[in-house]
């Protein structure tokens, strides 16, 4: 077992699960989507991206690409949240935030799938 691999897998899966936890619920109901969960998903996604830096393999490149996509979507969602008029989150705002995060969730799921495929291919 390799500690580096554990940490790597941990952050990738945590990014996906936190993202999922935030997205689940009625899409326009602010009560179902907590800001802290979003914050945590965001931070963990940033860390997961940084951990993927510098891998020169093809799989590594795809890994990094999925993370960058997720991060881009979450950034857009965070921007909408920060720019919400008067700090009040309306149903429409919530809808766009959650749909953007759902997109990020897609990318995170792809990332997890790559992780699993890569692991199973490795016969060690």
């Amino acid at each position: 077992m390799n500690l580096e691999k554990v940490i790597f897998a941990f952050f990738i899966i945590l990014a996906a699960t936190l993202n999922f936890g935030f997205v689940i619920g009625e899409i326009d109901n602010p009560l179902h989507h907590h800001v802290w969960e979003f914050f945590a998903a965001f931070v963990v996604n940033v860390i997961a991206t940084v951990l993927k830096f510098g891998d020169r393999t093809q799989v590594g490149a795809t890994h990094l690409a999925t993370s960058l996509v997720a991060l881009l979507q979450l950034c857009a969602a965070a921007l909408i949240w920060a720019l919400a008029p008067g700090g009040e989150i309306s149903a429409e705002t919530m809808t766009s935030i959650v749909s953007l995060s759902a997109g990020a969730l897609m990318a995170n799921v792809v990332s997890v799938v790559i992780l699993i495929v890569e692991t199973t291919l490795q016969r060690r």
């Binding site: 914050f39 940084v50 965070a78």
Partner: protein, 565 residues
């Protein structure tokens, strides 16, 4: 992605993750800890406010307490956050700076830059491996001829010295070992613009390695390699180097020619001279008894040349080698006694062939004291000693880097020149003198430019078209007419005409050309440029060949056409 960026990102992973964590914890604390607004009501920062605060605090900009003055619990937390974030930030910056100082990282950056510069070369270029005395000299000569080149060398110092050469072009150069194929590829070996590889290091093994790599990686590209021994020469030729230059063997060969036919030697050295050198007066080494001081790589080649001509040779060498049939005197040759013992008093000539410049000068100075009429050949090892050798003015000064440079340029310019030189080699003195006279009368005493013209649709489309018509005779002399004033003759002379399997040396200029003929010209660079329109432009051709100054445009052509409407 760029290699350097990848390396940087991998090295900076830890500091970046640390900074992200510090930010995250700091933001969480700032949002959770309540403050009070002007009215005394509790308020909390939004996540964005907290991020903004963290950003300007961590980077030590410190705008103050925004958006409102902080409460005491907030200030306690902020104090902790400041220390943590500034440390994290400093850690990242320190890592970044140490990365910029890192030799390995700098090498990656340099390589990337070198690759980009080679990639950006859109003109034909040569790849020079080894920037010693020879490589530098060849580089200078290529530059003088307006040819681009890329250079690699193992020594950082020599690569930096390239900048001090004051070349007209900006030469991409890299500190790298040419033995490694990847470095050759980085230097553009596989690029279509690469016209040739010159491997000129002072290490025969390295030159061999380069020759093999080129043969395997890009078989189309010709390789010119330097070799210091006959074994290495044979080895390189068997591995597919196109041309191997052994300066000592070349000099020996030239020396033999100079003794047999001084004119041929003079013509050959003139045609292969570096740009700017002048035709030298004839020097004919005498037949007679020779003394060779130093029986090393150079000395043995010289002895071989003398023996080939059945001349008597005495060898002076401190190691006293046994050479059958020759008298060997032990000693360096710098002392009068040794030279006297070797018979310097009645020798026809002396060769100072050791690998030390001071010894060589000392030998010839002593020899001239003993025998003022002796013919002196002196080997100059370092270009740095040029001033001494010029001041001494021996009959022949042998500089191996110059010999290699001359050979390289002669080979690179056109393979036909090598064929011409091969013919000159076997001609006698009188023939060579006539040839020199003919060339010099038209193009002057400066070493000429040599070029090849083929009568085909690519090289000379206008002439090719004319040669296809029955009513358009085209003589060799027509190619030497100035297309600005047809009565004026260009400063160039046809040296060789190749027609099928037939080769005509110094052909008569009245000779009629045919399609597919290849002509080797020698002349001034200006003449080469002036000849081009006659070869390529129909109007220039018509004027130069027939004296018809035809109007260029379609309307004028219609109006002046005989019998036209």
């Amino acid at each position: 992605m760029n290699n350097a960026v990848l390396v940087a990102l991998r090295r900076l992973r830890a500091p970046i993750v640390l900074l992200v964590l510090v930010f995250a914890v700091g933001i969480v604390g700032l949002v959770l800890i309540p403050g009070t607004d002007e009215a005394g009501r509790p308020w909390r920062m939004s996540i964005f406010d907290a991020l903004y605060f963290m950003s300007y605090t961590a980077s030590t900009i410190g705008f103050g307490e925004i958006p409102r003055a902080f409460s005491t619990p907030q200030r306690i937390w902020v104090t902790l956050v400041i220390y943590a974030s500034v440390i994290g930030w400093a850690y990242l910056v320190a890592n970044l700076l140490s990365l910029a100082q890192d030799r390995a990282f700098r090498a990656v950056l340099e390589t990337g830059r070198f690759r980009r510069r080679v990639h950006a070369l859109r003109e034909p270029f040569y790849l020079v491996c080894g920037l010693g005395e020879t490589g530098t000299l060849v580089g200078r000569a290529l530059d003088a001829l307006g040819l681009r080149f890329v250079a690699i060398d193992v020594s950082e110092e020599r690569v930096q010295e390239l900048d001090l050469l004051d070349l007209a072009q900006d030469v991409p150069a890299m500190v790298a070992n040419a033995r490694l194929p990847e470095n050759l590829l980085a230097a553009g070996l596989a690029r279509p613009e690469c016209r040739g590889v010159l491997t000129l290091t002072n290490d025969d093994q390295a030159n061999l390695a380069v020759a093999i790599s080129v043969r395997l990686l890009n078989p189309e590209v010709p390789v010119v390699a330097r070799a210091m021994s006959r074994d290495a020469t044979a080895n390189m030729l068997s591995f597919g180097a196109d041309h191997v230059i052994n300066p000592f063997a070349t000099f020996g060969e030239y020396l033999a020619i100079a003794i047999k036919s001084p004119g041929s030697h003079r013509l050959m050295s003139w045609l292969t001279g570096l740009p700017g050198t002048m035709l030298k007066p004839e020097t004919a080494p005498p037949r007679g008894r020779w003394i060779v001081c130093g029986y090393g790589r150079f000395g043995s080649e010289v002895v071989r040349a003398f023996r080939g001509l059945d001349l008597d040779v005495t060898i002076v060498d401190p190691d006293e080698p046994t050479v059958d049939g020759l008298r060997v005197v032990r000693g360096l040759g710098t002392e009068a006694a040794t030279l006297e013992a070797a018979g310097a008093r009645d020798a026809a000539g002396i060769v100072a062939a050791t690998d030390d410049d001071v010894s060589n000068l000392s030998i010839v100075v002593t020899a001239r004291e003993i025998n003022p009429g002796v013919f002196t050949i002196v080997r100059q090892n370092l270009r740095a000693s040029s001033a001494l050798f010029t001041a001494y003015d021996a009959d022949i000064t042998m500089v191996s880097s110059e010999i290699i440079a001359n050979q390289c340029l002669a080979l690179l310019q056109t393979p036909l020149l090598a064929r011409f030189l091969g013919i000159v080699r076997n001609e006698d003195d009188a023939w060579a003198d006539r040839a020199i006279e003919r060339l010099q009368a038209r193009i002057g005493a400066e070493a000429p430019d040599v070029w090849r013209v083929r009568m085909d649709s690519i090289d000379a489309p206008a002439c090719h078209e004319a040669l296809g018509r029955d009513d358009y005779p085209l003589a060799l002399a027509d190619l030497c007419r100035d297309c600005a004033d047809r009565e004026r003759c260009l400063e160039c002379v046809p040296m060789l005409l190749v027609r099928g399997s037939e080769t005509l040396v110094l052909p008569d200029e009245a000779l009629q050309l045919r399609r597919g003929d290849t002509v080797l010209f020698a002349g001034r660079p200006a003449a080469r440029a002036a000849q081009r329109p006659v070869l390529r432009n129909v109007n220039a051709r018509d004027y130069a060949v027939r004296g018809i100054d035809r109007p260029g445009g379609w309307i004028w052509q219609r109006m002046t056409r005989p019998g036209g409407r």
